[in-house]
Amino acid sequence: MIPFDFEYYKPSSVHMAVELFQLLQNQGKKPVYYAGGTEIITWARTNSIQPGAVINLNSIPECSVMGIQKDKLVIGACVTLSALSEANPFPLLSQTAQGVADQTARNKITLGGNICGKIYYREAVLPLLLANSRMIIAGIHGIREVSIHQVFLQQLRLENGEFLVQTFTDQYYLSLPFVHYKKRQIGNVGYPLVTVAALKQDNQIHTAYSGVCSFPFRSIEIDQVLNSSSIPLAARIEQAISKLPGSIIHNTEGSAPYRKFVLKQTMADTIHILERR
């Protein structure tokens, strides 16, 4: 049971949603945008968050689209991870999404919810970082389109009252050679010890990581080192590890030294596979 009450709204346009947010905030109701609701329900149930109002984004048409428009793959923020994998417009994204939670939960978890979530992993963002996707963000001043690299810095940096409407990805990236590895402590369901997603573009391997630090990331420095083919692979990996953008997570899924060991192996597997493609 959720031990407090909140108000519930389901606007049918982007404009209505941002206006509602503003209004509810001015009334001191601490509104939150609601997509799949899996994280909001879980946290509200344990009283870790107490929103006074939730704004369900699922009736906004722009948030449910998925398809190619003018050489770009457009995915609405409320598209569920299972719908995304089933339609499979971007195989690396489908495979990464399929690694999140389990099939039934993915019927509810949305792309936007996963990217904007507060838990560390946010795995679905990795392919979008690799494909230099663009984010369509709505706020009280209108809609802005920005590179993912400008707004996703450890987490999606939204201004107060903004929400993610869609992601745009150039069609060019959808068919590049890729690998995706998700290494867990045990079994096929659960949070990652290490998730690596990688794309090969113009003979260069681009990598992105979740489960390693307390945020998902892509690092140009790590990619530069990993692509230095004149250096032996083991040395490249050692150098790459020294360039991690934060300390390695140490939690019940795995200790930091174990994660580091798994990361090294996974980097090696990634390079081996993609160097041959």
């Binding site: 049971m1 959720i2 031990p3 407090f4 009450d5 909140f6 108000e7 519930y8 109701k29 601490k30 799949g36 609701g37 899996t38 329900i41 879980t42 509200a44 149930r45 009283n47 107490q50 006074g52 109002a53 939730v54 369900n56 399929q98 939670a101 389990d102 099939q103 039934t104 939960a105 019927n107 509810k108 079994g187 096929n188 369901v189």
Partner: protein, 156 residues
């Protein structure tokens, strides 16, 4: 404790082919509305956290964890619970294979299989494996459950 609005919201949904209307708190969770307000106690609470699958129901023929859904989200939707699958083929095959021990997880497994049949009537081994990962059996009846599910998807 903050509580902004204790208003009750009207919800109309079809549960096991019957239209039902109810007034609920926006914060009410569907699993508990089904159990406590409609007496449909076949859907079980195992973890309340989306991990175990014992609360699985069908929403518009697709499996959902009812512990991760607000009742208000079900407005206008078709809900099927285990009570709606009485004497169904999936239930009978689970019984024939004795695909349970204590039976606590069984409604969730049956609902998930029914949902799988709705979405993939001819599911292959890999699809079955991926879908069944959504449910946990504490009694480890996996062997028997696997046989039952294979039987369900074997053309007769």
């Amino acid at each position: 404790m903050s509580s902004y609005n204790s208003a009750l919201y009207p919800v109309e949904m079809e549960i096991n082919s019957e239209v039902q209307t109810i007034r609920i708190r926006a914060a009410d969770i569907l699993l508990y509305t089904l159990r406590d307000k409609f007496g449909l106690t076949g859907s079980k609470s195992g973890c309340d956290n989306g991990d175990c699958g014992s609360c699985t129901i069908l929403v518009n023929r697709q499996p959902m964890k009812s512990c991760l859904m607000l009742t208000i989200e079900a407005d206008g939707k078709q809900i099927t619970t285990i009570e709606g699958l009485m004497n169904s083929q999936v239930q009978n095959i689970f019984a024939q294979h004795q695909a349970f021990q204590c039976g606590y997880c069984t409604p969730g497994f049956i609902m998930n299989c029914e949902g799988l049949r709705n979405v993939h009537p001819i599911a292959d081994e890999e699809t079955i494996r991926v879908w069944l990962e959504s449910n946990i059996c504490r009694c480890t009846s996996y062997e028997e459950i696997h046989h039952a599910v294979k039987d369900i998807f074997t053309p007769k």
